[in-house]
């Protein structure tokens, strides 16, 4: 889908591709590349005209006499008027053409979202994403955080809300952005066309940790998606060994459970990310750290040095409790 | 000076003051009226923007503002245009004694208006902290009050000024005339605000 790539090799150098406008893995993202290419061509032509005219104008009489011609300082040659008319016409035609191209792209984008077959709600918080796959059947509702799984080729409608300040929902590989505004409900339509792992990020400044408010997107086959969904519906597995049990006890009776929820346990906090299947995610703390044991230790021990200013306090865990908690959290696949 | 002057036109016979748009300060006052009018227009735009968020206006259970004080204020405001026009005329004919007398009248009218205005704040039936409706109603009334206060202060100062030997200076009559112009602005802007504070909340619920 990298149609723009042929024309704009410069723009795609060095892209690893998880968070780029030049990905085009979604219908709207692909439309963007097409339209952007059209604009680039037109704008480049216009720029070259201006640049060449400017260079020629300065170069033309570089050796002319340096005196002011008092009699004729206001006269212009006959070429100015036709050139002006031509230039105006060129701008007008160019702008009309670009507006029309933009109009049709917009129509195409609007059509993408006309018939959604999957609906989810993303609620932004300082600085993480609360994700809920709603279903008329309450027992089929899945709640997760900082990750979205989407089946390929299926139009999705995402309802967007905010619990605090204005954020912006942006997965450049799939589509343009849409703000999440407290007191309003907005929505975004996605039509992913290619399986893959992408990254989204908050695009509206939302406070101290705006830079680390990302979102992992997995576009997968429909079968994979359904497998994932079924797994998400399960409650968290019970702890299997004494260490995990100690972590479970700490989590459910102490500070952690005041804010976090783990389905199937007494931890029912609703103000922080749902951790029921935490260990199956790709990252910790809204994309701040890749998911691995080392980062998990670092995060749980002192979240404030990993992502200063975020809402998770540094508890000051004893080493035993830390080991136990991490061991338990890693079971939450 | 690089070029030698060639004396082409003598301007010493030109007058040193004039009324209306020939005067420099008229342009300054007009510009400030445009600025403040801009404030009012934008506040009114915000009013309608916030109104569009509500199903009814004033939103229940809030009652629309009581009419008495606001209407009295409006009537007094309209009546004040009579002495205001007289003062403008008197200034344009350099009638110092009349200007001095009418400035006292205008200052007195201002005091009456303040009394009505105080009761207006008391009759809004909503606090600025209650909701956005209350906030914008208070904002409109507050904004307009600042204008009444400003022009009243100006009138007061002019009244004192015209009693000094400065009152003999023809240029001061231009000041008086422009003060009268500003007062027109103050009461003209009040009329839409009166409708927005007192009547629109009655019609849209």
């Amino acid at each position: 889908m990298r149609r723009g790539g042929a024309i704009l090799p410069f723009f795609v150098t060095g892209c690893s591709g998880v968070q780029t406008m030049m990905g085009g893995e979604g219908a709207e993202g692909a439309n963007f590349i097409q339209l952007f290419t059209v604009f680039m061509i037109v704008c480049t032509v216009m720029y070259l005209i201006v640049a060449i005219a400017l260079i020629a104008a300065v170069w033309r009489r570089r050796n002319a006499a340096l005196t002011l011609d008092n009699r004729r300082h206001h006269e212009s040659s006959n070429a100015v008027r036709p050139a002006l008319i031509g230039w105006t016409a060129l701008i007008a035609v160019g702008l009309i053409g670009l507006t029309i191209a933009s109009f049709f792209t917009d129509r195409s984008n609007a059509a993408n979202g006309s018939n959604p077959q999957l609906s989810l709600t993303v609620t932004a918080n300082q600085w993480w994403w609360d994700v809920e796959y709603s279903s008329p059947d309450a027992s089929k509702t899945v709640r997760t955080a900082n990750e979205i799984h989407l089946p390929v080729g299926i139009p999705v409608e995402i309802k967007l809300k905010s619990n605090d300040v204005i954020h912006s929902f942006w997965i450049p590989n799939l589509a343009g952005k849409q703000d999440l505004i407290p007191g309003r409900e907005t929505d975004a339509q996605l039509l992913p066309r290619k399986t893959g792992l992408y990254r989204g990020q908050c695009a509206e400044f939302c406070g101290v940790q705006h830079a680390q408010m990302a979102l992992d997107i997995t576009v997968e086959s429909k079968a994979d998606f359904q497998r994932w969904y079924a797994a998400q519906l399960q409650p968290a597995p019970p702890p299997a060994n004494p260490l995990q049990r100690a972590g479970y006890n700490y989590f459910t009776t102490r500070e952690c459970g005041s804010c976090h929820n783990i389905s199937g346990t007494p931890a029912t906090g609703q103000v922080a990310p749902d951790l029921t299947h935490f260990a199956s995610r790709r990252s910790i703390a809204a994309g701040a750290l890749p998911m691995n044991t080392g980062n998990l230790y670092g995060w749980v021990a002192d979240p404030q040095s990993q992502k200063p200013g975020n809402r998770m306090p540094t508890v000051g865990l004893k080493a035993d409790d830390l080991h136990a908690l991490v061991a338990y959290l890693e079971t939450l696949k | 000076m690089s070029l030698h002057p060639s004396f082409t036109e003598d301007v010493s016979a030109l007058p040193t003051h004039a009324f209306s748009y020939r005067s420099l300060t008229w342009w300054g006052i007009s510009a400030f009226m445009v600025i403040e009018g801009g404030f009012f227009v934008l506040t009114i735009a915000s009013y309608f923007f916030l109104m569009s968020q509500e199903q009814e206006w004033a939103p229940r259970p809030w009652e629309p503002p009581g009419l008495v004080a606001g209407t009295l204020f409006t009537l007094a405001m309209l009546a004040s245009e009579i002495p205001n026009t007289m003062i403008k005329k008197a200034a344009e004919s350099y009638d110092l004694a009349k200007v001095q007398k009418l400035l006292v009248v205008m200052t007195g009218i201002g005091v009456v208006l303040f009394v009505f205005r105080a009761f207006e704040f008391n009759s809004l039936n909503v606090l600025w902290t209650d909701n956005a409706y209350g906030s914008i109603i208070w904002a409109l009334l507050f904004l307009h009050t600042t204008h009444v206060v400003t022009d009243w202060g100006d009138t007061l100062v002019l009244w004192r000024l015209m009693k000094t030997p400065h009152g003999e200076d023809p240029r001061r009559f231009v000041d008086v005339e422009e003060n009268a112009l500003y007062w027109r602005f103050v009461w003209l802007t009040w009329l839409p605000i009166y409708a927005l504070i007192y009547w629109v909340p009655r019609f849209f619920r």
């Binding site: 102490r254 500070e255 002192d302 404030q304 306090p313 540094t314 508890v315 000051g316 | 902290t129």
Partner: protein, 183 residues
Amino acid sequence: MSSRFRSSALALALVAALCGCDREERQTRGKPLGETVPASASPDTVFPGTGKLPPLDPRAAAYEGNAAAISEGQRLYNWMNCSGCHFHGGGGMGVALMDGKWRYGGRIDQIAASIVEGRPNGMPAWRGKLTEQQVWQLAAYVRTLSGQVRKDAVSARADELSNTPPQTQTKREPLSPSDSDQQ
């Protein structure tokens, strides 16, 4: 302007910067700590009429009147559902927090102790459920409900239903510890 004027202005600015305002500084670094009760405040010491109060806990200084701490406390007040009983300070199931009457003491460390220990008749103990920092932040916020804190550290309202007069206008209620008998 003389250079002396400029250098003295610079010196002033430096002095100002050195003794600067950290009352708005966000404290992001949590301090690792053990089991914590604000040390000086236990039910014995805060109960009215039992003698002199111990000196104020030194940790209070970092929270009392600190805008960032108060703001965090305000959020925790909602997050931990304090409003479920105390409402927005007006009281309901729980006691009113905006009237300056304190059965267990109205100093920030005394309030912190009340949060940690819990109190009879329904106030749960938050020991171990909140970190010490969070408790202090909550206590700092609770103090603002009765206007005990400087007005430039509080905000007029939160983005919620308007149910109290703006905090910036809250009158400072005199602290009166001994009204408990009447309640």
